[in-house]
Symmetry: C2
Subunit: 285 residues, 2 copies
């Protein structure tokens, strides 16, 4: 059994991993690190972490594995603050949603510890945030993407893989740029679309009626617009290039669909919808 895991940023993602590792008996002790003492106190009260420190140096000093689950814009600062205080051989991983950016941050921030850094991304979450939203089952049968570089130590990859497997997840490995492209399409772009649809409707003088008569389809479609704005600002900025590519392709797609509608082309519209339905119906999860 691992002795100590440190979770920096005990919110939904970090807190749920802590709960899952506790429930799996993966380690003896989980220490939380972060800036906000009140939230760390709360996480301890909720039994998510065993102890905490608002000094990241203190938080990581005895940890075998450090999981950094802070907004993307804060990653580099965290790496810089912990680099000098890590135990020899300590493995560092993260839960950020854009991997090329985190790898660059880790390379510059962690210095000689970079070979023990394994960039990772749990494909899991809800629109909620904060440690109160954390639950031990979040990662059960979910996928974790890790994106090691050719400098990454094999034993660090093994340690991170074992950790996520203990939390109930399946671990896949791919390049950081493929990760960023795939996630831009299936996650980051949908968030932009949902945020912009909500704003588009609610800036209108018909906002009251939109609000009153929106149904289940709208509720599900826009659920992700309730996601944490700071986290999503950071994701958009750190995965900007892949996201803009994905957005541009989508805008072309939307223009084409608009032309079909303008042309009153029922056959084309039908086969367009049939093809989308066929693809979408393959998701049975």
């Amino acid at each position: 059994m691992i002795e100590q895991v440190c979770v920096i940023g005990v919110g939904l993602i970090g807190g749920s991993l802590a709960l899952a590792l506790k429930s799996a008996g993966f380690c003896h002790h989980i220490v939380g690190g972060g800036r906000n003492q009140q939230r760390l106190e709360k996480a301890q009260q909720l039994g998510i972490i065993d102890s905490y420190s608002t000094s990241l140096a203190d938080a990581v000093k005895d940890a075998d594995i450090v999981f950094v689950a802070v907004p993307m814009g804060t990653m580099r600062t965290v790496f810089e603050q912990i680099a000098e205080h890590l135990k020899p051989g300590a493995v560092v991983t993260d839960g950020g949603s854009a991997k090329q950016a985190v790898i660059a941050d880790a390379k510059s921030g962690l210095g000689k510890h970079f070979s023990n850094f394994v960039a990772g991304h749990p494909i899991a979450g809800t629109e909620k945030s904060g440690c109160e939203a954390a639950f031990a089952e979040l990662y059960q049968q979910r996928r974790i993407i890790i994106t090691p570089t050719n400098e990454t130590d094999a034993s660090a990859i093994d340690a991170v893989t074992s950790m996520w497997q203990a939390a109930g997840a399946e671990v896949d490995s791919m390049s950081a740029d493929l990760h960023d492209e795939v996630l831009a399409g299936t996650s980051h772009l949908p968030h932009l679309l949902a945020y912009s649809l909500v704003n588009c409707l609610f800036e209108s003088d018909k906002a009251g009626s939109y609000f009153k008569f929106a149904a289940g389809g709208f509720r599900d479609f826009t659920r992700i617009a309730s996601s944490d704005p700071v986290m999503w600002r950071d994701i958009c900025l750190t995965n900007k290039s892949a996201l803009l590519d994905s957005l541009s392709r989508y805008q072309i797609e939307l223009d084409q669909l608009k032309s079909v509608l303008e042309d009153n082309d029922g056959d084309q519209l039908l086969s367009y919808f049939q093809s989308a339905k066929k693809s979408r119906d393959k998701f049975h999860y």
Copy 2:
């Protein structure tokens, strides 16, 4: 108690109304009408309707209320086929998603019975279709929009209102053009966005990876892309004008958001997301 209700098109919408009215004891007998004998037989076996006829003339001849729940493109034909066979005073209503178009169809198709026609739209449904997907609780605490014209008989409005209330729904009245604008924004546009996102991703050479690593946000966001393509082709074509307006406004919104991202403007992005979250969080249903 009403003697007989006729449901033309016994799918999710028509079948669920039939089940709700049965369960409420609203009428003695429910007759189903449609073109497909096999499906009507199935609906009778499932206890959704008491009898059926593939002749719409037969199906409506003893009905006090006729509910037309067929795809928008079929409405006019149905109205034309039943007009001469309605009982004197029989009330006709529908469940179509675009009201200006249905009103035009009813005016031309129902002739002298048009004053007893009440255009209606239950704001309810799922991405499933067919009578097997019908359930009696679909309309419980959901809103029904009716859009009477100044030619509509008050007693017809009362009859349709009572029917939906018996099914557990709340009835609101508004103009057909406001209905079409609101629904374009909260329902028809989101469907276009979901269909086009799915096609945009699945036409790519990365389709396999998109598929494999899509998470819960994507699943909910694109759930409506599983909706019935024929129904949605018809909705888009019949509410084309309001939908194109709504789509154009959305494209401008998306262009603006894209510029903010291109400019790397984190503050603007944050306040954009915060404002959307604030609006979206008002939905607690």
